[in-house]
Symmetry: C2
């Protein structure tokens, strides 16, 4: 291969450093700071608010002149690094956040160096994404002919899956004509405990939030299957077109597990698309001891799930699997002249990933997933899932044994919802009290659970998707919550 | 703050390394490999196909047992790193890819260590994203009351912008009711040269690809404004509801620049949403010498653009700006109980970013943008933009001076479309010939342009969004293209 000498670019400088060895030295010191941050996760407060002087320092004008690598690195170390979300800490249990793992630092640094665009073409990064998708097919017992995509998370995965469902079930060309309300209206079903990303997908796809019918739950917060059947019959009678049902292998509020087998049967009877919203729960279905509770997941038409939650890959990373590749591709493909594939060369590699989702430029987030799964192996990752479920049971027992605390729903999987109780306080007062307890827990830096409401009662919601936490952390959480509750009620 | 001792997790091991110092040593050696990769970008072939034995090695079964950090790193170095897309190389000019910059390696490693989720809550990463958005408001002369979001790229940014447009202009509650075809049909307009992401957004949003009216272009491939007016009048006469026009500050095929001022005036007359698809072109509008050609961009209701193209931030990173924050938020907000904000603590920080786009979990891609803009400053980044435009003119002149080459359209911005010509060959034969030339250029590793078709003629399309390229690289490209063209026609 011929080449030109290492010429400077036109105006004397590219964006590369003038002094590579100084850059390299600085990068190594930043890598140490990054690793220190993860290694010392337990030694810090879970969460620290951003001080006002730091907020003021961040609010600088748009930089017109170069500040240089050293200055930016110093600013990063002082203005940004100390104020992370907190989910790398063992006692973070708010919402559903994964902990991440240090290997992700290596994978992301390397993905950044490669700067690959996985929208299409024929290059190495695509083979890694295909491999991650193939592994997921194996994991969920999906056929090798099925398809998938590594995406930013379950929200986008859900949009993709329901877009394919919409395309598959509409009896007109919905891509060209759009959603038609002069035809039978497309309607879908999910339980009242389903995640808001389902309604959001109905909204985005132009189906309308109202077209997602809310199926009530039973006492265990699981979808009421007879009620699902009644809702479908009612819509059919009204001249609508039921097209999909969404099941949850773990609801976000309480970790309840819908009867996926029963939902699948209803879908078969009515020729509906069966989508599984597996955001964090799907992974639990892969643990041998938990598997029996998730039977039916392998019958889904599509599954959406996250790697950045219970798999602990760094944010952001999720995946969608779709049983029928042809429907998936036909729901998204759009290839103008400037994206035409070639028989050979860089423009080869058909079909391109951009034919399976909304994004044309696609970063190499598959690399951190590939790295993580190889580094740790599924057995160990699934063992941590099981540990978390046992820890939730442990916490539930601590709560039940404590006269100041009340369990608000039985522990189902990895989530424990409880509250501090005090005599002579009604629900409204208890709601305010428990919100205050959670804020103080966070402000103290000791622990970071979140809150939710169950039947109007505000719960301290402890979601355990954390590979660093131990049972003694829950002893401390309970002790501190009770202490704060007492302080607030004297 | 009280704490427990550094206890191992329940089954003896978290996903953290047993030996941090060995992990750290390996991470440093991988960092060197990452930096080497960028520093030596010019010394490699632009592109190398993935060999079959590497494909076979990648296709291993789902890893159940841990392979360990060392093994995974070795696999990464041998199976992945050598086969990047090629866009870090000075002579990559295919499609529209940015080159990236080495500082991104530091930023991404640090973002990975923090593992922040920017969907919401009150923590440091959010302030960095807000700051990046504020900088972009300054850059595009948007009011401080406007809103924005850092996203994966223009595709998602377009979906967000047109979703806000759809919400703002529909005379019914489109989020609840969905797109209604029993009402006046919502229709929009873009030129025949507009990027496919616009049609895709119409598809995804349930408006239908047909609802995006294709406005013809003039000889310079710019939107024909009188034709736009006629199309709107026709739709109004037919009882439809025009709601938006999309202008391109640089089309993907030829770099043509729509008359944004004229489009803005049409939008004002008809109360339409003016969206600018600024994927790579919007940044050029910020260069003082190029600015006059883009007048009107500051009048947009929304702008979608990429950081990973002409700004050279690593993949993936883009942005949407929306003039009216209230419409942006109302088009997306959805806050169930488990996402309720608190007055204090980690659950503070209203409004949350998840109220402005489709994703609830959001990675810290804002960090690499913040890092890059501070490290290099806008002046230097915009100087590289101007360099690229001058290089396109230079290449155009080389083409015109060469009897074997034909310029297929005048150079408009940073794109040069040309072809090799040979006596007595018709367009069909020339199309095959020029496709072959491009494939051989890529296979040789010397250069990687892409192709497109202009009026049925296949063009060698050289898109210059590269901060490492120099004029001598184009001398070499032309020399090699002519050499290959001659080889193919003997």
């Amino acid at each position: 291969m011929q080449d030109t000498p290492d010429a400077p670019s036109e105006t004397g400088h590219s964006l590369d450093p003038d002094d590579w060895s100084a850059f390299r030295k600085r990068a190594h010191s930043m890598l140490d700071a990054a690793i220190d941050h993860v290694e010392s996760a337990r030694d810090r407060p879970v969460w620290t608010p951003v001080p006002d002087d730091i907020k003021a320092a961040i609010a600088e004008p748009l930089p017109m002149d170069p500040q240089g690598t050293d200055k930016v690195c110093e600013d990063l170390l002082t203005q940004v690094l100390p104020y992370a979300t907190g989910n790398t800490h063992p006692r973070f249990s708010g919402w559903v956040h994964g902990s991440g793992a240090p290997g992700g630092i290596i994978a992301e640094a390397m993905a950044s160096a490669m700067n690959s665009n996985l929208g299409g073409r024929d290059h190495g990064a695509n083979y890694i994404e295909h491999q991650v998708i193939n592994w997921m097919k194996t994991m969920f017992d999906f056929p090798s002919t099925s398809s998938g995509l590594v995406v930013s998370g379950t929200s986008i995965a859900t949009v993709i899956a329901l877009s394919a469902a919409r395309y598959a079930k509409a009896d007109y060309d919905i891509r060209k004509q759009g959603v038609r309300t002069d035809k039978r209206r497309l309607v879908g079903y999910a339980s009242s405990e389903a995640h808001s990303c389902i309604a959001r997908a109905f909204d985005m796809l132009g189906l309308g939030i109202d077209a997602l019918r809310t199926v009530p739950v039973n006492d265990a917060y699981e979808m009421d299957i007879p009620a699902l059947r009644r809702a479908i019959e009612k819509d059919l009678a009204a001249g609508h077109q039921p097209f999909c049902v969404v099941g949850s292998p773990a609801t976000v509020n309480t970790g309840a597990i819908d009867d996926l087998n029963a939902i699948s049967e209803v879908c078969q009877e009515h020729d509906l698309w069966f989508h599984v919203d597996g955001a964090f729960g799907a992974i639990a279905a892969m643990n041998d001891n938990l598997k029996p509770r998730f039977t039916g997941i392998e019958r889904a038409d599509s599954i959406a799930f996250d790697f950045h939650k219970w798999v602990h890959v760094q944010y952001d990373a999720g995946c969608v699997l779709i049983r029928r590749e042809d429907l998936h591709r036909k729901a998204f493909t759009l290839r103008p002249e400037y994206l035409t594939a070639a028989p050979r060369g860089l423009a080869g590699g058909n079909p391109w990933f951009c034919e399976y989702g909304p994004e044309l430029s696609r970063g190499f987030r598959a690399l951190k997933v590939w790295f993580h799964l190889k580094e740790h192996g599924m057995h160990k990752i699934l063992q941590k899932v099981e540990d978390n479920c046992q820890q939730a049971v442990y916490l539930g027992a601590l709560v039940e044994a404590n006269p100041h605390l009340e369990l608000l729903t039985p522990v189902s999987l990895n989530i424990c919802c409880f509250r501090f109780v005090a005599p002579a306080m009604d629900d409204a007062a208890l709601n305010r009290l428990n919100e205050e307890i959670v804020m103080r827990l966070q402000e103290s830096g000791v622990a970071a659970p979140s809150t939710t409401k169950l039947n109007g009662q505000l719960a301290i919601r402890v979601n355990i998707t954390n590979h660093r936490v131990t049972k003694s952390d829950f002893d401390l959480l309970v002790k501190e919550a009770v202490k704060l509750g007492k302080e607030c009620t004297v």
